[in-house]
Symmetry: C2
Subunit: 373 residues, 2 copies
């Protein structure tokens, strides 16, 4: 194997695929990136942790065909420190020793044979009739806004997925961990032949979000092959297992009307929550909120450390209400909201509370209160 | 106790003294800051870990005299999150509950009685005849340049101190951990009556360096009281134990002449060392350096991972030499050097190697090579 490639091109390629390398692998080869020469002066980089696989193709001057796997971390360290010039990568056939040369810098790095790389995870067949195009902009915005409420990553847990409902004209994205829920509806002009609901692991979509800056096109092709999803642009292919099962009918949980409404300045509420949270009990993270007479009073206490209290001016003329939340859920939702005001829809101390940006009817966040004492 | 103080003033005071709070205290009160009202509308903040004590006085509107200790970390968190306005701090006499109020933010924080604070560590008597003034600028520059080579912090180890030699007209600062040595000589116009050598814990001087931006004056008063040193400016007093014993006669270790000399670009050498270090053996940190014919070739290897090599152009016409170093020592010295070029004075593969900035005769750094194989 021998090819010559620009340092920045190679580094970008490594940064795209290394997100899929395993963090704690059973097989050492899962820490590695598979490097293969292709026809037409291209090389292909692939990494996988057996759930998520990312593949990218790069232009290079291929002088001798071949393939090898190299440790992603070391490879990134080496390439990122090279001068910005052409890099020559070379290995004798059958050898796992790869030499990397750039100007007067020279590295010998020990890899693992490409035959040990688990190719079956990305050997899929695309049934083109099951593919459709989705505009990248609303898709990414939806993941950013409605993906944060998913349960933390566990392959077996349906709630660790983000549900994406593709309809003609509308894309609905939602996530919930049982204590909170985020849902967004985005207009799309994509050609979805029939309604398709996919439950995609949140890790897959969050990594996709991070690498999306490397995608040049305005839309991405989405294909489903049994329990696999493929997100395909010209240079980057992301393949992931899908989560299977019946996702909770979350839309039924969202109250259509809230009897009490507060209009609150988002940055003031964030500042007050951060202040009050200094005295929050680490075990419960509970902050109490008292809505009354155009004022919101937040309070927290920890027996051994002390108490905190803060009051901000809001618009609220309904009956007074004391309600308590895990303040982290409220903060995370507020940080996603891009408008100046948030409309908080309230009912009773133990009813689901609705947060909506003042200027955006399409985004909604639901938080379950906690019982006090 | 009751006083009113500007938020930023109080926060600066906390940031100055909290450096002296203990990181792992036997007595909980050592995590706390002692707050005392003084006459003339001032308050005093004190923190100590029993080795280092820092005291600062702040202007405040004192309405009721008193004193209390409050946990430094919580106090910093609370005050830093307040709006920028006047803060009222209040405690009933005999109570450990302190209320902090700023606009509509209110905190109750539980402290520890001031009587538990170990006052003996900063009850010292200043013998003014043993005090002298030192200009801050050369003193701080000396600590920055020659303090980094000290052994890591252990109260019992003399080499964890930075030796400061005050002479009339010259201040010499040096540190060594046995493997490397840094020494700087700075001109001072201070009135030292007799030569004074102090071995000051490196932690004391490093914390002093960090808080020095809060010192308004151009010089600081240094007083020695038995085994205690006091660094005194108008608003900040730093008190520290001194290390006692005979510091190695380091000047004898510095070669007066180096038979071989290389002139090297500092940033090129840093970049090459960082590149080559990717393949360094983590156990030894050894990078080999080969000087020959106006070229320096650096190399490293780890059996399981691979090898690295880099060559840079230098000025070197002496006999060729292969020498090896812990590359971290070389990097740390190079990062202190502010000039474009470094002059490396070499002798034999196991002789002390001298690094001098190209434009500064007053700073010198010595590194012991390591034996290869």
């Amino acid at each position: 194997m021998k090819f010559i490639i620009g340092k920045e091109d190679l580094l970008n390629g490594i940064r795209i695929v290394e997100r899929a390398t395993s963090q704690k692998a059973v097989q050492p080869v899962l820490y590695n990136i598979l490097i293969e020469t292709l026809e037409n002066n291209q090389i292909r980089l692939t990494a996988t942790d057996l759930v998520l696989t990312v593949i990218t193709t790069l232009d290079a001057q291929v002088q001798e065909a071949g393939k090898i796997t190299l440790p992603a971390k070391k490879l990134n360290e080496i390439i990122s420190k090279l001068n910005n010039d052409l890099v020559t990568i070379e290995a004798e056939e059958g050898s796992s020793n790869v030499s990397i040369t750039c100007r007067k810098s020279k590295f010998d790095i020990i890899g693992i044979s490409a035959t040990e790389f688990p190719v079956d995870v990305f050997n899929y067949e695309i049934d083109e009739s099951k593919c459709f195009d989705v505009e990248l902009k609303p898709f990414l915005k939806g993941i950013r806004q409605a993906g944060f409420a998913a349960a933390s990553y566990e392959v077996s847990n349906l709630l660790s997925g983000i549900v994406c409902d593709f309809n003609s004209g509308i894309l609905e994205i939602a996530s919930t961990d049982g204590n909170r829920l985020a849902r967004v509806r985005e207009k799309i002009s994509s050609s979805v032949s029939e309604q398709t609901q996919l439950i995609i692991p949140s890790r897959t979509l969050n990594e996709f979000l991070k690498m999306s800056s490397f995608i040049d096109e305005e839309s991405v092709k989405i294909c489903k092959d049994k329990s696999t999803i493929i997100l395909k642009s010209e240079k980057i292919t992301t393949i992931s297992r899908l989560l299977e099962g019946q996702f909770p009918r979350y839309n039924q949980l969202i109250p259509t009307e809230s009897p009490k409404k507060a209009v609150v300045n988002v940055s003031q509420l964030i500042a007050a929550l951060e202040r009050v949270s200094v005295m929050v009990n680490d075990k419960t993270s509970i902050v109490k909120m008292h809505f009354a007479d155009n004022e919101l009073t937040l309070s927290a206490d920890t027996p051994e450390a002390g108490k905190s209290e803060d009051t901000i001016d809001i618009e609220y003329t309904s009956e007074e209400l004391m309600i308590a939340f895990n303040y982290r859920f409220v903060l995370e939702a507020l940080r996603i909201i891009e408008s100046e005001q948030v409309v908080i829809g309230l009912n009773a101390p133990l009813s689901a509370t609705v947060l909506k940006p003042g200027n955006d009817e399409d985004f909604i966040c639901l938080i379950m209160p906690v019982q006090i004492r």
